[in-house]
Symmetry: C2
Subunit: 341 residues, 2 copies
């Protein structure tokens, strides 16, 4: 169907090799011959077959990127960052959506290997992802973990400082008067969840507030999880005065549950979370959050990966921890502003 190098060569009256030389800009081709080949290429609309080239050279110029959810406003910028960095490096990105499903994640990893991507950028679903990722590692396959680390693993990663972020967020809550702070997090199966819980505890300890197990709610870190967990929070007596949710999806569910109960933020309940959301930030800047440099995370992650692929990285694994920003708005105390303006 598609025109091949041979078609071009035939039309130009040269051998395939000569045509190949023209295409790859090798010298040692007469000007006149080059012109003829270029003419044939233009006339036939020839596009080189990267697949064949890749088979030959063992280089596909492609990396894989697996994220749990492209729709999540945190991962959008991560994808963009990685994609832009890849393009600059002459690579393309095979994007996969694991949907937070371990089985799907494994399927995609095998798939990408089978596609002979030269490296893999993974934001792992959970600690259990390591089983799958380990079998990759055995072959010293270029791999960089994004956003979450994996226990017992020793590979490059780039994450944000969740513990410090959570600590500052909770410190802020405490500083405006909150003493009973509920925390919605995951089933203790991600590094981010663990670190954020750690920061939560640190902030409490620093303020001399005893840590209470019953204020921590384990759930899936999506909208429905946030909703259900918040319902549990609202069953508590006395009610906490603030909720700290582990990410930007849970906070949506939390808000839903609060609204259903007729509770207003921040009048009746303080609410903070990880991840800023651009639209929210501009259109309705009331949520106090920890903002993570998502695009940087994706971009730097890709850079780490390309260094690995190029063999410029050395055997030691590199660990990058990015700092986060506390953005104080008006979702934890009534004093600081009007919600929509």
């Amino acid at each position: 169907m598609a025109t091949t190098l041979n078609d071009v060569a035939e039309r130009a009256g040269v051998s395939a090799m000569t045509a190949s030389r023209v295409i790859n800009g090798r010298h040692g081709v007469a000007a006149e011959t080059q012109r003829r080949v270029e003419k044939a290429i233009a006339e036939l609309d020839y596009v080189p077959n990267r697949i064949a080239r890749g088979l030959n050279s063992q280089k596909t110029q492609t990396i894989g990127l697996i994220v749990p959810d492209v729709v999540n406003p945190f991962f959008g910028p991560v994808v963009r960052g990685a994609e832009t960095a890849a393009r600059r490096a002459g690579y393309r990105v095979l994007l996969c959506n694991s949907e937070g499903d371990l089985r799907l994640e494994r399927e995609y990893i095998e798939d990408l290997i089978s596609h002979r991507v030269e490296g893999l950028l993974i934001a792992p679903v959970s600690d259990d992802s390591r089983h799958c990722v380990f079998s990759l590692l055995r072959g010293s396959f270029p791999l960089v973990l994004l956003d979450r680390t994996l226990p017992e693993s020793d590979c490059d990663y780039i994450v944000c400082d969740s513990a410090s972020g959570a600590r500052r967020l909770v410190e802020h809550l405490i500083s405006v008067g909150h003493r009973t702070i509920a925390h919605l997090t995951d089933a203790d199966d991600t590094s981010t969840g663990r670190e954020r819980l750690k920061g939560y505890k640190e902030a409490l300890a620093a303020a001399g507030i005893p840590y209470r197990e019953e204020l921590v709610f384990r759930t899936t870190v999506d909208q429905i999880g946030g909703y259900r967990a918040t319902q549990q929070v609202l069953a508590l007596t006395p009610l906490p005065t603030a909720i700290f949710t582990v990410n930007n999806m849970t906070v949506v569910g939390a808000m839903q549950a609060l609204r259903e109960r007729g509770l207003s933020v921040p009048r009746d309940m303080g609410l903070v979370c990880f991840d800023d959301v651009e639209h929210l930030a501009v259109l309705s800047p009331f949520l106090s959050v920890i903002n993570q440099p998502a695009e940087t995370l994706g971009g730097l992650g890709a850079q780490l990966l390309f260094e690995r692929i190029a063999g410029k990285a050395g055997p030691r694994s590199r660990r990058i921890v990015l700092q986060t920003d506390l953005i104080v708005r008006s979702s934890c105390c009534v004093t600081s502003g009007v919600p929509v303006r």
Copy 2:
């Protein structure tokens, strides 16, 4: 580096062809042989090379998806929809971000062809994308346009009914009392912009309000464009009482400009736009919008493409127009609710 079929065959003491048969589940292999091959596969951690397979069969099981911006909350769900549909069909998605740049878009298209994707899903940058897309079409390459049509083109597409959406949005504005409504749109170079302007005009005409050219502002449909255009709106005397922005990015810029001028929505200015944003919808449901079924658009688009690829589509181009939802909240009149609750 990676283990090949030959390694497997050698270890199992059979020919490559026999090993290939086992891998592809062909019959005509003795049970005992099959077991030996499977053992070898497991021991060597063999993963078939899809590249080689693709070279041979001319099938890469891959489609390309080009969107102007993955970060845009409209395209996130589009990507997810397409990706999910692709997975179900046994295909993977090569995702590219054209960033609204025609040059980049062209580069990606060539790239994807070179990668021998079996089909292409494109949300085109603008009408000018057609030059590039046409050269594709000549080869009857499987192609489905998403979200925007292209003039003079005759290929499958799936879009939302922008004219009707815009009409209903503006009708709503009029019904709550607005008479002077500014409209921010693009440089008349996308079908969506044209259709939305058409709907805007229709709604005005139906209400007997004369159309005024000077109320329509042309700009880039991103945040900065919305910001600048809104500044122009605010230079008008008398001020319009409402603004209708063409999408979810421009509305962000509009809000910024309004806030800078100390104007409150909806008290001082009504504000509506295309595209609902999930976080905003739940956390701060004040913006009245037209919601487009983005995930459906991506999913159905992929389905159309797979039918094309499979040759089940027929020569006539298929055109799907999805209906949109008007979601009335409180951004155009003061009566309908408290902004954040």
